[in-house]
């Protein structure tokens, strides 16, 4: 079962600035109040491919669970560990090609993949009309719930046919129904979240327009010092 969601958006900012905002989007809450659910951000790899000049970056973000509470409630505690508010690790890979003028990004959850895997892909580019003041972005999110597959694996391994006959959790609700519900709930939540993530990008872009990168770095440093002395 797979659910796909695609949206297009145009930022009224030049392409290089938008790519910088992408890297800055989870900096301090002072710069992006829409990123308060992001607990940490780390770079695990960053290198330039010498043959293409493309910058490849891999980062890992820790976010307060993107899994809607409604989804968590649907699941048996054996899968969720009995909690409804866990944090999830997100792996983000990005490639920037300054010469050709595009940036492609991909984010996916690292935990809960057995329940729901969410893959978000974005392609940022200079508009075909060569309007250099604008940047286009296509966002494609693929939701896939693998709950049923996991259960089938388990059944075949452990021969739990008795559970199925008695009408266990999945038998009653139907694995397909659950998969679809999880995908739909997650998709609705994501559409909401996409709006917020765009708002966050816009705030950073506006700040970059006003003060440039040095201003942003300065603000970041000041915010950090405040939080450390608090």
């Amino acid at each position: 079962m797979v659910l796909t969601h695609t949206t297009n958006h145009t930022y009224a900012h030049p392409f290089p600035t938008v790519t910088l905002a992408f890297f800055l989007r989870y900096c301090s809450p002072q710069l992006n109040p829409f990123a308060s659910h992001v607990l940490s951000t780390d770079t695990i790899d960053s290198h330039i491919d010498p043959s293409t000049g493309r910058l490849h970056t891999t980062r890992i973000h820790l976010k307060k669970s993107r899994m809607p509470p409604a989804v968590m409630k649907l699941l048996p505690t054996t899968l969720t560990g009995g909690t409804t508010s866990q944090a999830s690790y997100i792996l983000e890979t990005s490639v920037v090609d300054m010469r050709e003028g595009w940036m492609s990004t991909e984010s996916r959850n690292l935990n809960f993949v057995g329940v729901l895997s969410v893959v978000e892909r974005q392609m940022y580019s200079i508009p075909k009309t060569k309007t250099l003041d604008n940047t286009e972005v296509e966002t494609k999110v693929v939701f896939k719930s693998r709950l049923g597959e996991r259960l089938r694996d388990k059944l075949s391994h452990q021969n739990l046919s008795a559970t199925a006959q008695e009408g266990g959790f999945f038998a009653r609700l139907g694995a397909r129904g659950i998969q679809r519900s999880i995908e739909t709930l997650a998709s609705t939540k994501t559409q909401d979240q996409l709006g917020k993530s765009r708002e966050g990008m816009k705030m950073i872009l506006e700040r970059l327009r006003q003060t440039g990168i040095i201003g942003v770095l300065e603000l970041r440093r000041a915010a950090r010092e405040r939080s450390m002395s608090a």
Partner: protein, 85 residues
């Protein structure tokens, strides 16, 4: 940037992030340095040693390995061939 997932790496991360953002905005985006980003390499190395240890302690390195296995399978079946540009 926000915090590192490991508080003990915060300082090293901060130094690297600042270096990276400066290099990215002042050089890479302007096409000045498109073959390497060596100037932040030492800082990255130090930060990476700290981070790798933290990833291991928290079992995230295993999640990463599992995810890489999973990608292959998923990418092949539902996303088709990776976009090559």
């Amino acid at each position: 940037m926000s915090q590192s997932l490991a508080p003990e790496c915060n300082e090293l991360k901060e130094r690297y992030d600042t270096c990276f953002l400066k290099w990215y905005s002042e050089k890479y985006l302007r096409g000045i340095s498109t073959s390497d980003n060596n100037e932040c390499a030492t800082m990255f190395k130090e930060y990476n040693v700290c981070l790798k240890r933290a990833l291991k302690e928290r079992g995230i390195d295993k999640l990463l390995d599992e995810a890489r296995e999973d990608f292959k399978e998923n990418d092949a079946t539902l996303l088709g061939k990776k976009k090559c540009k």
